[in-house]
Amino acid sequence: MISSKPAHLQGVYDVVVAGGGPAGLGAALAAREAGAERVLVVDREKEAGGILLQCIHAGFGLHHFKEELTGPEYAGRVLREALEHGVDVLSDAYALDVLPDKRIKLMSAEHGVTLIEARAAVLSMGARERTRAAIRIPGARPAGVLTAGFAQRLVNLQGCLPGRRVAILGSGDIGLIMARRLTLEGVEVVGVFELMPYANGLNRNIVQCLRDFDIPLHLSTTVVQVHGRERVEKVTVAPVDDHLKPVLSKAWDVPCDTLLVSIGLIPENELSRQMNLRLDPVTNGPVVNSAMETSRDGVFACGNVVHIHDLVDFVSAEAGLAGRWAGLAAQGRRPPEDNVRLSAGENVGYCVPHSLSTEREHTVYLRVRKPMEQSVIRLSSSDGRFTVDKKVRYVFPAEMINLKVGPRMLQNFHGDALRIDVLPR
């Protein structure tokens, strides 16, 4: 582990960052680079780095570091960078609250409960996994139904196994990665069951995590019943019809002692709620402007706490933005005002940020609701007088779209609201 305990806590920080994953560490680094003197990252684990530390597989960093790294390598690099730039990283600690006067209540294994002053704050608490309850799988409630991420922690950090014979519900990347990881550990993975007619993970993972090991992927199929009193004994699965309703007459039983659920992530916003930040009901994260500032002045957010990213590289990019503006805000420089509201239209689940400026270059992140080939991303004003189209060959819910929007693209736009649609060509 990379030792990172600051010798003592200061009473006042320019920027305090809640959460020491790639988002928080990246934001802290950017805040330092923007001239903030005292920057503190608070992380709950013994070593900062976030969930990457349990993602031991490769596939990270191709955009940000221009080479393919494993999760621990990526985490180690961003932590080293932050430390080398003089960021204080306080691990084994927790940000309990951000008080209205921006004092932050911290709990730390080393320092107990303390209040520190912060001129600006960055929220980067990451995300949590959706659980079985979120989709109400009927049946018994034995031990052995767990999220793929918890299984990942058990295997990669604790060095034990979640079971001997595992079924996986949901074809999200964490579930696919765990299918391979468990197989490599000698566990039998009996199949992956996906409600939708398409897989939710990357093709790379379908091939290298499932096909390489002949693990069947059952599309348009879901778990309709969990069996077992003390421990999972089997699950009943059934194909679904066009309305995603299980066809019980075609159900079959799958003997297994473990059911992993890999059905998506939700931003972790306990702290944001406590602070009464405005939240987006679709992303479940805070509403942010183009400087990644939340509805409270001086409080910024980045990474999965804002919206779920597909690649950590984009988290790092977003963190750079949030950290830079937080660093400047701490020195009294407010981000320039946005003049355009951005909203999600047809086949767009959400777009982030929620507003932008016609004066600057932005990256807008969005996700579609359903896959589409030969489509256009259309930006339009509410009166329909302004439209600009960008052709895309395919769009896919599992893949985040990065749309560059800048003054040139918007030179003929004179409104205060833009909407984004993804339409067939």
């Binding site: 582990m1 390598e73 490599l184 000698g186 990357l202």
Partner: protein, 126 residues
């Protein structure tokens, strides 16, 4: 006489499009045609997958005297796909001593597959 043609199927991993690639081979596995790709990278991938599929492997090994019981490691180069499980099994009981630094070789060329096993996380004495 027409040579007998056999077809192998692959799913392209280059992008989310997931092209269904088909590789036709004749005698001695000689590739005669590749179909189903939408770009040059897809075609190259199909050929590589057919001739010599290789994989990078990430796993953990035991750690003695460290802050955690396991150390994440990876292969320093891709190994033949067919040998991945054998490699993992061969490393299953390996335990090394803390401290470890990133990039440190913890096993030299196991099973002679042409790849070392290197640490991917720094682990001090815990």
């Amino acid at each position: 006489m027409t040579p007998s043609i056999s077809t192998a199927n692959y799913l392209c991993i280059g992008c989310p499009l997931g092209c269904r690639l088909e590789v036709d081979t004749a005698e001695e596995d000689r590739i005669v045609e590749i179909r189903g790709f939408s770009c040059k990278r897809g075609k190259e991938y199909a050929a590589q997958e057919h001739i010599d599929p290789r994989r990078n492997v990430a796993l953990t090994v035991g750690l003695r005297g460290g802050a955690l019981p396991r150390l994440p490691v990876k292969t320093s180069a891709a190994v033949p796909k067919a040998r991945v499980l054998a490699l993992c099994a061969a490393l299953r009981d390996l335990v090394i001593d803390a401290p470890v630094r990133v990039g440190q070789v913890v096993a030299v060329n196991p099973l002679g597959l042409g790849a070392d096993i290197v640490a991917t996380r720094e682990m001090g004495v815990g």
